[in-house]
Symmetry: C2
Subunit: 412 residues, 2 copies
């Protein structure tokens, strides 16, 4: 039997009615002849509640206990989904991560999947089970303890299962009906894309478009898993949603296919550090050791042998960055004047695989922003993306202006 | 190190503050030099919520999925308790049933404990862990699926751990400060007992005194586990609560030590069945196969070769009993006139190991009830217990009158 993976996020299983609605979608695919692996998240709000309890109990918590607590929400949904399917006379059973087993590293609360042996579940498919309902987001460490994959890890679980079971497709059911050129909440002209290349989706995902977790897209790209994002709240055809696929499958593409943004960015400047080899390494090794995810980096022109080093990181890591940099200053490992943090910034990016073959995108972007009187603080580029850090208050304006300028409302 | 088992029920871990309070109690015992095994229930209300969801999803649910869902509440508490202890600088970790592993039968939702290999937890004690926090109520079947032990199963978990680890004592922390001669809510003169014999506790537990689960007392009796019931809401000394122990440890005892009651009883009468060998077997085998827990049985005097068979069972099993008996009537396996169900009854019992050596208790009980104008519908007795079924409206009156008559307000 061909295998299909279907993943339902928190809002798609938020209560018993929604679980029933999701189960009906599963029933449609079972009727087509698929063996289905359903990956479920916790009912929406549950994981946040559990995370809140852990944080309140122990601010610097033991990540192993965090995982043991936080993984429980998915177990509840998995059991309820299996029961709902059984009520529809569809042979189903639930699987917790350790039962599959979904083997991960020991990096608790952000474990990586190492292996998903398909034997246990395939044995049940061979016995007539039609649906394996798997609790998403969780696995088991080599030490036999429960691990979790980081927030949004159920998407990654789904793609990993699709790869391990050579599934025909991995359908991600969520509360939006696909991937848009930008966030429809801040740009009324946003348009749903029928197809998007893995690379583009990856940039959009890592830039804050919350439709799919970045790691799930990376994994899908690596294993060539066809990924479809679609709404669990609408009747669906086989062509619904957005297909995330190889760029070869997309005939023609706009130069820019999406405008992404992220409010969750802060800009930090280490003022007046010595401009000599090794200084950048000292700063960014320190930040990396402190668990700070540095994104953009800019080094100012040197003056009198000293320079400013500016970087961005998620807002909630600013305190950690400040603490780490102060520590090495006090230990005499780094000499700098001042550390300035600016949390009132936002990142806006344009993404498109067409950029590879067409120049002038950056110039056009900067012109559009300057035409709106928006000052650019930091710039980074990749092959298919240009990102700028700007004052947060201009974020919506920037997104709308760029969406217009690159004519994203028009289908390719 | 001597081992102590401490069990905290749902109200004792109902929120983070109560978990902290419970953890402080654990800290007191750790400071005395114990290696402690803490058994936790789900936060109060959680299990009921989960059971409700399962029932709403699937009225005749797959018990394996019920167990997978319902066991999750204890996992949350176990993790939070471990984190709380760690915050107090007490080395602790959580254990889910399958991690211990607590091995059970495959009888899902009412599994029995088969074995608790102490090696894994003892290895951690040897490494310096002071507290093993174990999720109560759950285990793992030979098939590798999660099982639960039936409602209140955390008491049984606690006693089983005390037996497996040869613990010095098993302390059951709950929302009452011990075992009373009867329910203080319906009899103001109820008195807390300092000690009670296993056998008496067993009768009280099975009669509806909800302090301890029956199976936990059976297990404690079999393995001679000293069991103490005490309140998690009061400062505790070593002598607090009620010790459940061998009757040899109790110097002198009243003839009657407790008056128990249960509202959750119904009386069923199978009218006019043939009075010949095998009829009782037919009726009660049928009921047993249907999962009806028959308690009291009375057979009327025969008349014209026919008789009435009366029995009691829990109220929520009446529908099941009716269905099963109707089925064998329709199949021609049993001929009877009418099946009458009376749900407006209650069971009241007096319990005391002193009854073994002193006669006249039954006579006194019946006299007291008749003196209050209470009609007895069914009677059963054991060596240390006399139970009667009466109209439910007289229940409180009967309990109070019996408590007075046997002078239970006076210490032995």
């Amino acid at each position: 039997m061909p295998v299909l993976v279907m993943k339902f996020g928190g809002t798609s299983v938020a209560n018993l009615d929604r679980i029933r609605r999701a189960a009906k979608r599963v029933g449609v695919e079972v009727a087509k002849g698929y063996d289905v692996i359903v990956i479920v998240s916790a009912m929406s709000g549950k994981t946040n509640e559990l995370v809140g309890w852990v944080g309140e109990t122990s601010p610097l918590y033991d990540a192993r206990e965090y995982d043991a607590v936080v993984s429980s929400g998915e177990n509840v949904t998995a059991g309820l989904m299996a029961l709902t399917l059984q009520e529809m006379d569809i042979p189903a059973r639930s699987w917790q991560g350790w039962q599959v087993p979904l083997k991960t590293t020991s990096a608790h609360s952000q474990a990586r999947i190492e292996e998903i042996p398909p034997e246990n579940i395939n044995a049940k498919f061979a016995e007539g089970m039609k649906v394996a309902v798997v609790a998403g987001f969780q696995g088991i460490s080599p030490e036999g303890r429960i691990t979790t994959l980081g927030r949004g890890g159920s998407d990654t679980t789904a793609v990993a299962f699709a790869a391990a079971f050579d599934a025909e497709r991995c359908d991600i059911y969520t509360d939006v009906d696909g991937v848009y050129t930008t966030d429809p909440r801040i740009c009324g002209k946003a348009r749903k894309l029928d197809k998007i290349a893995f690379e583009e989706m990856l940039e959009l995902a890592s830039l804050g478009a919350k439709v799919l977790q970045t790691r799930s897209v990376e994994l899908a790209m690596r294993y060539k898993v066809k990924l479809r994002v679609l709404s669990s709240f609408e009747e669906q055809s086989d062509e619904a949603g957005t297909l995330v696929c190889d760029e070869e499958e997309i005939m023609e593409s706009n130069v820019v296919n999406g405008v992404a943004y992220s409010r969750d960015e802060a800009k930090l400047t280490v003022q007046s550090v010595a401009d000599r080899p090794g200084i950048a390494a000292t700063i960014f090794t320190t930040l990396s050791d402190a668990g700070v995810n540095v994104d953009m980096i800019v080094q100012d022109v040197s003056e009198d042998g000293r320079t400013d080093m500016t970087f961005s990181c998620p807002t909630d890591q600013v305190a950690r960055a400040e603490k780490a940099l102060l520590a090495i200053k006090e230990q005499g490992e780094l000499n700098y004047a001042e550390l300035l943090a600016d949390k009132d910034v936002a990142k806006v990016s344009v993404v498109g695989i067409g950029m590879r073959s067409q120049s002038g995108v950056a110039a056009k972007m900067f012109k559009v922003l300057s035409g709106e009187g928006i000052n650019i603080k930091v710039i980074t580029t990749s092959e298919i993306k240009i990102s700028v850090l700007i004052d947060r208050k201009y974020m919506e304006l920037a997104v709308q202006a760029l969406h217009d300028a690159f004519e994203l409302e028009k289908a390719r």
